[in-house]
Amino acid sequence: MVLADELAKQQRSISVAEFFEKNKHLLGFDSPTRGVITTIKEAVDNALDACEEAQVLPDIFISIKKISNEIFRIIVEDNGPGIVPAQVPFVFGKLLYGSRFHQIRQSRGQQGIGISAAVLYAQLTSGIPTIVISRTGPKESAYKCEIQIKIETNEPDIVSEQPFEWDRIHGTRVQIEFKSTMSAKKKLLEYLKYTSIVNPHARFRVELDDEAFTFDRVSHEIITCPVAIQPHPHGIEFGQLKRMAEASNAKLSDFLVESFSRVGKKIALDICERAGLTSTVKVKGLTAVQLKALLGAMQAVTVPAPPTTQCLSPIGEELIRRGLDKEFQMDFVAARTRPSSVFSGHPFMVEAAIGYGGKLPVEGNAIVLRFANRVPLMYQQGACAITSCISNVNWKSYNISQQALPMGPILILVHVASTNVPFTSESKDAIASIPEIEKEIVLALQDLGRDLKLFVSRRDKNKVAEDRARAVCAIIPEIAAKVSEIVEKPLVDTSPIEGKLMRKLIAKKWTRDGKVTIELSNYTTHEGEIAIYDISYDNATDAFPKADFVSELDGQFTKVWKAIIPPQTAWQVSYTGKGGGLLEIRGIDDNKKMVVDLDV
């Protein structure tokens, strides 16, 4: 027997499921810990997409429970439109089955690989079938089935199915059990936190064993579902063109006008002429060579950029700010939504935000949050075009220190929305380097960098002034007291130093021996008509002068005095109390006043 015959015996087709079994890493199932995150990510993506299509505010419940030594049960439940019983086995039990793959619009999931990959992963590690419960509306009863995948054929295998009593009116619940660990808990919560930032209209409830977390919504506006558009002549490949041509009964010029966006009669005729084809020929009968010529002509001709407004769904500057504000306490947040743009015929849009200060860690690199179509990218930060764009911006020119990434209490968010997000691999962890996208990211970041610089320089200026006020009003008097004691001379008066350095209205508050004193010294050249608001637990009934107004809330007293303080004079009030609380001065410009608490 010849060798070729020998080999032929071993040659056979490989099912997608079999291929996946051997290449788990391609889909993000390379380790048990990562498996949990990928599964939840896929299920949540589907739930959010479904809710968006059904125009309901997503309410998503996630639970992870250890049920035996290594086996974890993962449940994701949504209030989406549900899936009709006939489709359930295919959605969960067949790889590469989906509704969004053939549509040109922004959506989270795309290829229909994700959730069925999780079903397969469960089957491979625990052998337990996946349970799906779904209900499409109040009139329908819920449907429950147990599903596996036939690995050799990539067809669903329904283990059992029956109607089910479910208290939800509509929605889907999927329960998957597989081998895993909870070592990725931190990453998982991070994923949900980030997802909640870019989906401010969604609410997530999470149960991790015995712990419960809630990521609440900040917006009650249902986001408009992006509308699918037709392919753009510049963004199509040969295979797709061939499929479209075979399915069409139209004449060439009509086919071009009807099946592609931004192609009018004139452009259609131009394409026909460039391809050397008559406009009336039936597209169905075109040969491969003719189609190739047609494709070449389509790419060569000038066509306006595809419409972007309906097919993309940016989060918006306001909602990004609110979403970030909710999860991170920062001193400064700014966001930018760039105008939409196009790469190789695919519309895209870049959004970015910068947060600074507050509770962000002061040391180390900036925190980078990467998103594609409202989905957080959790892995391969180093391989992502977003990261390299951030590193390529010269942050030093915005007074931010930088070692590749900017350093310090900084958070950077970048969201790329597109009908076709170019990922570096199928696990969808990193965005590929596309010059058009990179340019938009850099422009957005530079714009935000300028805002941040302005904020930081203003804050620093205030800081220097406050620092000086503290030195002059609080510490120098203490030096005076100690030094006078050492040299055994009368206490030296430091108010001339104060007046000379500050040239402002200085309000001081201090507590000595159970007595609180507030003193206002007017070192400006103008007479001040001032209101003094003192909020603390002291009721100040024995205050002298008496407060003009006192109110109480939750045991805290707000005392208000009104005073006219001529330049170069001082006003004082004291009362019995413990001090602390807040002191505010109104009736004078912010840059003409300074409040110093001497007890701090």
Binding site: I479, K482, V483, S484, I486, V487, I497, L501
Partner: protein, 362 residues
Amino acid sequence: MSKEELEKKSMASLIRIATSWYDQMKAGEVPSISLPTRTKYNIEFDDTSEVWKYGDRESMRTAASAKSATHLLKMAYVIGFVKQQLLENRSSTLREMYYISEEWKRAKFGAQEESNFLIEDLEIISEVPREGFHLHPEENGASIYGPMKIREETRRGMRAIHCQDDVGQAGYTIPNNVENIEFVDHDAKFVIALETGGMYDRLIENGFDEEYNAILVHLKGQPARSTRRMLNKISSTWNLPVLVFTDGDPWSYRIFASVAYGAIKSAHMSEMLATPKAQFLGLQPSDIRDYNLPSDKLTEKDVEALNAELTDPRFSTEYWKKQINLQIELGLKSEQQAFAARGLDFVTKKYLPARLTDMGVI
């Protein structure tokens, strides 16, 4: 200077600092103080005393920011504390003062180092060593072993001690205040100051001190002030050569530098603390090569330190440039105890006699 004179000078200069601040504030000015810059870029070689001292660069501290004002406030509290101590004739350790500062509220020290640094500042401004403030370090001094006789004024009376015959195996412990020691007599030819306790013990066990009439001093790493004062006094009183034997790495060369030229941190006290006649015995980078000693690779930090030494004025001699460049080239460092690889007697029978002959000491 007698004890009473020192106290008088100390009190006068502290009151002078406080008075200048008092006068500044009385005139409506922000109190300030100027200090020499305490970095390696501001030390100069003083030809007459042959030690390194601070140069002319000064930095001004003005109480116009919270940080500087707090620094001045702390200084005022320390001055007040020292004044009280001098009046009551009491003394305390630096560590005790650090704990006492707990009561000083805003003027309290954040860390012991901060109070040490501040005391050094006061020494510089007042030109009085800390003994004059009745403050002493709490670290116990290192040990000394060899043919010498001293008298120490202890709290229990005067004691005469021979540093070979009257002490245990570990030697005589150098007290905090070397000023209380009277140097009576000796039978030594030279002094070897050793970085590690292991080498100190090795030389005693091998009887090196008796065979060569050597005084052995254990430096205990970076030597304490009292250890450096002791070496300074032995060298100036008896005019004996002082040789420093450390590990062969950049950090150990700094030990030698602080013995011979004074430390950057205490350049204001160099005349009392440095021993300008001290010579570097080893371990030299060329020894690593010539004796093929067991060695470790230089780390990035080591190389950085060596390069820093090339710009340190205290190391700007032909000898050091050659040795440091050689070490960078070799990329190696060795510990002094690496000689044990050649047998326990090698260092006392071969290396030291050869090296000391080379240096013209024996």
